[in-house]
């Protein structure tokens, strides 16, 4: 029997995607996650540009995670020019990233993902029953915006970051005000984690390879080696030797595989491989709640995000408390011909940049591999496994809702596809 299921638009994700499914003799014979965002061609836009323009341009790749693009680009260019940064810049970049994680994760947890898990069609519907929880999410998200504004000048397309550091140092009174906010929000973080820990997400246990950064001394944001749950441990410069992008005919977004296999990036991958770096108070609360990581339940991604929210507030508090005005906000940059690599942990996962420059620091060519592209193959793999577990004979509406929930769980930022959901099911 042939059957067609259409999911016209995938709601509560950024960008547009569609899903085609073919079922033949009760077997899934075809599954294609189609991204039909127009190719952004950012890699070509950057060619011929001065290194001084790059940090501002790449912020426009994504309205949700501009900081991630700025940080990966800045690190790649500094690597290219063999430019080191000061401890102050290093700390401020972590603070900047805390802001972005808080903005992005709280938006996803409260307004995109939770309606799925709590049985609501929308966050607006959910607000009738959970107003205090949503207000808490807004407080945490607002703090994230404030951190990004502190260093970036504004939360949309921030302009404060540059190669070598920042254009301006935040004033002490602004820092003190945010420190007070961070202190007050710790209780919100604990309450959020406790609430999410008690919800039932269903069992979406799967085998997958988690990939993220690893740093010997801290939960990774801007620096580290690339590791995986399957034993990979490589410098970021070796990324292309192990990870290969390829074009699929049905999508404008490139797919990326690790030695020919799908893999997972993002909060669940990070928490699974870096849980030991969380402060004592976070690990203690997790023990009291009876939750363990690493977890292979894909729906525990929301708890992983909540853990990172808590961590970001703790880390922001640490940095704000120790804040002093620097002698200089950025290092002198001497452009040079060369190749440089940057890899940082965007809210959705690894964001890898490579830049080739000439002696003046003009970009010859570049490669940008965003996290959502890296998760495309994993999302398809998840959909296949989940649909088989659910049962392909289920009604179209059930299949569609399941697929939407699974895709949305990855918090895909489809508009970032640098190199949502009309679903078609054909049953034969």
């Amino acid at each position: 029997m042939n059957k067609i299921i259409k999911v016209p638009i995938l709601t509560r994700v950024e960008g547009e995607g569609a899903l085609n499914i073919e079922i033949k003799d009760n077997q899934l014979t075809q599954l294609e996650l189609k991204i039909f965002e127009p190719p952004r061609l950012f890699e070509k836009f950057l060619e011929g540009r001065s290194y001084e323009e790059i940090v501002d341009i790449v912020a426009r790749i994504c309205g949700i995670c501009p900081v991630a693009y700025q940080m990966s680009a800045a690190h790649a260019l500094e690597n290219c020019f063999a430019t080191g940064i000061t401890p102050w810049v290093r700390e401020m970049r972590r603070l900047f990233y805390c802001g972005e994680w808080l903005e992005s994760h709280n938006l996803h947890i409260h307004f995109l993902a939770l309606p799925d898990f709590l049985g609501f069609q929308s966050a607006l519907e959910m607000a009738q029953k959970y107003p205090e929880e949503l207000k808490r999410g807004l407080r945490l998200q607002g703090f994230g915006n404030a951190l990004v504004r502190l260093l970036g000048g504004r939360s949309v397309n921030p302009v404060g970051a540059c190669v070598g550091g920042f254009y301006k140092a935040p004033g002490q009174s602004a820092v003190h005000e945010l420190l007070q906010q961070a202190e007050a929000l710790l209780l919100d973080c604990q309450s959020l984690l406790e609430w999410l820990a008690r919800l039932d997400y269903g069992n979406n246990t799967q085998d997958f390879t988690a990939v993220c950064l690893s740093h010997p001394e801290e939960y990774p944001m801007n620096e580290g080696r690339i590791i995986s749950s399957a034993g990979l441990n490589i410098p970021i410069s070796a990324f292309m030797q192990y990870f290969q992008e390829h074009q699929v005919p049905y999508s404008t977004a490139l797919h990326c595989l690790l030695q020919g296999q799908p893999y997972l990036v993002g909060p669940l991958a990070r928490v699974n491989l870096n849980f030991h770096h969380f402060p004592t108070e976070i690990r203690q609360q997790m023990a009291e709640l009876g939750l363990q990581f690493p977890s292979t339940n894909m729906f525990h991604s929301i708890i992983a995000r909540a853990l990172e929210v808590y961590y970001a507030v703790c880390e922001a508090r640490r940095i704000l408390k120790a804040y002093t005005l620097p002698a200089k906000t950025r290092v002198e940059v001497e452009p040079a011909a060369g190749v440089g690599f940057g890899c940082t942990e965007a809210p959705r996962g690894l964001l890898w940049h490579q830049f080739n420059t000439d002696a003046n620091g003009t970009i010859i060519n570049t490669r940008i591999i965003p996290p959502t592209s890296q998760n495309q193959a994993r999302i398809e793999e998840d959909l296949r496994q989940s649909l088989h577990r659910l049962g392909l004979a289920n009604e179209d509406s059930i299949l569609r809702n399941t697929c939407e929930r699974i895709i949305r769980n990855y918090d895909p930022c489809i508009s970032c596809s640098t190199h949502f959901l009309q679903m078609t099911v054909v049953r034969r």
């Binding site: 709601t11 509560r12 994700v13 950024e14 309205g63 949700i64 938006l107 307004f111 995109l112 966050a123 607006l124 607000a127 009738q128 107003p131 949503l134 207000k135 807004l138 998200q141 607002g142 915006n145 504004r154 939360s155 949309v156 397309n157």
Partner: protein, 183 residues
């Protein structure tokens, strides 16, 4: 908390920056107002605030939002004045992240009991096709001062305690000042 906040919402592109240009115009006019009035009012531009609009709505007892609109039944050169019901009815998400635009944020604020005591919206009708340049169209630029003057008179009324403001749910033509109901 201020008595009044005016937020000019928009993006850098074409006539979608009308909200920002109104704030710039108001800031010029504010220089002539008494300090006692000025310090009770906040003027601020917002770049595609999405859900963060809800936090902004907490900043004053009365909030005026200014933005570009494209409401059926209105034409370029017309502006509208709406309350929160009108915002939800007429200002559903166009160019916005995750479909959280002005109307959706106001709906959520209402659901969470986070609306200010009084919320007003002034919308300037623009063309639906927003170009990716960074200046107002000639028509919009020509009408900017008139549009800003209407909002300034509302600001002064609010700060002076006047409750009788423009009728809500109306549109008016900035060329000839004709008023009508939005339907």
């Amino acid at each position: 908390m201020k008595d009044l906040a005016v937020f000019g919402i928009g993006s850098p592109f074409g006539d979608d920056r009308i909200g920002w240009e109104v704030i710039a115009s108001l800031e010029e006019e504010f220089s002539t107002l008494p300090d006692a009035l000025k310090k009770r009012c906040l003027l601020q531009t917002c770049d595609r605030p999405g859900l963060q609009l809800i936090n902004l709505l907490q900043q004053a007892k009365t909030v005026i939002l200014v933005d570009a609109v494209n409401i059926p039944g209105t034409s370029m050169g017309e502006c509208v004045c709406l309350d929160e019901t009108g915002i939800v009815k007429w200002c559903q998400a166009g160019y916005s992240s995750h479909h959280w635009g002005l109307a959706e944020a106001v709906q959520m604020a209402k659901a969470l009991h986070l609306l200010p005591e009084r919320l007003l919206f002034y919308g300037f009708t623009i063309d639906n096709n927003i170009p990716f340049d960074f200046a107002l169209s000639r028509l919009t630029a020509d009408l900017l001062k008139k549009f800003a003057a209407i909002i300034l008179s509302t600001i002064i009324c609010v700060l002076e305690g006047e409750m009788n403001l423009q009728p809500l749910g109306t549109k008016w033509n900035l060329y000839d000042n004709d008023q009508d109901t939005i339907s």
